[in-house]
């Protein structure tokens, strides 16, 4: 009986506690990301933004959440019920499970697997299903067009993202995200791989279907695209999933290029700040970029989105893989086995 507790129940409970310790702050972060988005864009537009609910409007996200929670869930008669309900759950779940491999600090990671980079790649490539399923199951032409656009866009930009990840793993010599961060101890990869970091940033905008690549939502032509038939909590799950995805992608960029939890410089006052704080700060910086871009750029035309993905980013990143591996071998810095 003691063995059962020690071997199975306590480790399982411990894992559940760790998962909660990641997911609960993440959900709060998602809530305040929506607040930050409205507030920052309001500042850029010289408006006030939400300022009524609570001091500085700080309770606005909870008011919004409560409102969505209390609304009626409407499922269209023509919809394919099962798929219609699974789609938002899938989107939300996938945005959560990606956090399993992202390290927040030295040893602070839920699952330290040695294919962490590929895991992230796999999870982000699954994200397309939630949207494609929602688009099809809604039985609405707007939703369907939005879903198809999103699917084509995500598949296109994933290739460039994959090649950039290959470049990073060539430099680090490991697919374990903790190893990748530790390999950036002397120099963050954003410096030697600066052009690739910029391309990665643009790719994650396209992957999360944010401005200026938010054609799947394109409210002027598709109403709001794939989620047009969703209401209440089902819509809230899509909404949370989208913002959680933005945070995942920013965390990924932070881990791959901005040195994860490492301080800017390893000197006295800076390295006393704990790793998770650095990680949060860097991720917030990337998230600010997402919002900044939204307030700055007009939407792309769809054929231009495709052209950028296939004819510009794909060849450039493919060349980068070859050039970087060539340089690494020529300078004797190529990773070795062991």
């Amino acid at each position: 009986m003691v063995e059962l507790w020690d071997v199975y129940i306590w480790p399982a409970a411990w894992i559940v506690i760790k998962i909660l310790a990641i997911v609960v702050p993440l959900l709060v972060a998602v809530a305040y990301l929506t607040y930050a988005e409205r507030k920052i864009i309001a500042m850029m537009h010289r408006r006030k933004g939400p300022n009524v609910v609570g001091p500085f409007g700080l309770l606005q996200p909870f008011a919004d959440g409560l409102k969505l929670f209390l609304k009626e869930t409407i499922i269209p008669t023509g919809a394919n019920r099962g798929v219609f309900i699974i789609a938002p759950c899938l989107t939300f779940t996938l945005a959560m499970v990606a956090w399993a491999v992202i390290p927040f600090g030295e040893g602070m990671v839920l699952s330290d697997i040695n294919v962490g980079l590929l895991y992230l790649m796999a999870i982000s490539s699954l994200g397309v299903y939630g949207i494609l399923m929602a688009g099809w199951a809604s039985n609405s032409i707007y939703a369907f067009l939005g879903g198809l656009r999103e699917a084509a866009q995500m598949v296109s930009y994933e290739l460039a993202m994959g090649f950039i990840m290959v470049c990073v793993l060539l430099m680090a010599g490991s697919m374990n995200l903790t190893d990748i961060v530790m390999a950036q101890k002397d120099m963050w990869y954003v410096l030697p791989l600066f052009p690739l970091a910029v391309i990665f940033l643009i790719c994650i905008l396209a992957e999360t279907a944010r401005h200026p690549f938010d054609l799947p939502e394109g409210e002027a032509e598709l109403v709001t695209g794939y989620n047009v038939e969703y209401s209440s909590m089902a819509f809230a799950l899509f909404f949370l999933g989208e913002y959680a995805n933005m945070i995942v992608m920013s965390g990924m960029l932070t881990t791959l290029f901005l040195g994860g939890w490492l301080p800017i410089m390893d000197v006295a006052p800076l390295n006393m700040i704990p790793g998770p704080v650095w990680f949060a700060l860097k991720t917030s910086f990337v998230l600010f970029f997402f919002l900044w871009v939204r307030a700055t750029f007009p939407r792309y035309r769809y054929d231009q989105v495709m052209r950028l993905g296939w004819k510009v980013f794909l060849p450039v990143t493919l060349a980068a893989v070859i050039i970087i591996s060539g340089v690494l071998v020529a300078t004797g810095n190529a990773p070795t086995i062991g």
Partner: protein, 205 residues
């Protein structure tokens, strides 16, 4: 070990159940979705085998790319369900034959495993033990680019030919279709595309 066993039966059970659903569900989109579920759980089985690289690759390539295109095509097809069910009996003999051949092959493999265990060992030589110093990504790289380099190149060549074929078949220049040519746009100068005209008052051009 009991956790691994439970996980194995869970994944294997879902793979089999969704495999059955792929061929039995009436809606082709549901079939593709069940196929995706089967792929995903097969990746889980790979993880249990200690082949995490293959598992992730299965998800990235099959679930993330190939199945998306399946779903894309199936969703856009306008399918007549009645016609589909009428054709079922017509294709039954061919389908049954293919199934039978596959079944015999699987039985042959299992039989070889059961009656000649040394044959099974020969397959396992390349795989490192779980928990050894070399990760299975490195182990795959070590054999793929050395012992099997020609096979690897041949596979790449086949994919290249397929890609060129697909492009040749679909990419034709149709008359009357406008497309954006970025170099032309950039090369354009103000002098050649606009001119200043003196317009007399009330005269027009």
């Amino acid at each position: 070990m009991i956790v691994q066993a439970l996980a194995f039966y869970l994944f294997a059970g879902i793979v089999l159940a969704s495999g059955v659903m792929v061929i039995s569900s009436k809606n082709p989109v549901h079939s593709v979705l069940f196929l995706i579920l089967a792929f995903f759980n097969a990746a889980g089985l790979f993880v249990l085998l200690g082949a995490e690289f293959l598992a992730m690759l299965l998800v990235v390539v099959y679930v993330g790319a190939v199945a998306v295109l399946f779903l894309f095509v199936v969703m856009m097809l306008d399918i007549n369900f009645v016609e589909l069910r009428q054709g079922f009996l017509q294709y039954l003999p061919i389908g049954g034959l293919v199934g039978l051949i596959l079944l015999i092959e699987v039985l042959a493999i299992v039989g070889a495993w059961h009656f000649a265990p040394e044959a099974a060992k020969a397959i396992q030589v390349a795989a490192p033990a779980v928990g050894s110093e070399i990760t299975n990504t490195q182990a795959l790289g070590l054999v793929l680019y050395t012992d099997y380099v020609y096979v690897f190149q041949a596979a790449g060549l086949i994919l290249l030919v397929a890609m060129v074929g697909a492009i040749v078949l679909t990419h034709r220049r149709r008359p009357g279709v406008l497309s954006q040519r970025v170099p032309d746009q950039i090369a354009r100068r103000a002098e050649e595309s606009a001119k200043t005209v003196k317009v007399p008052t009330g005269g027009g051009i």
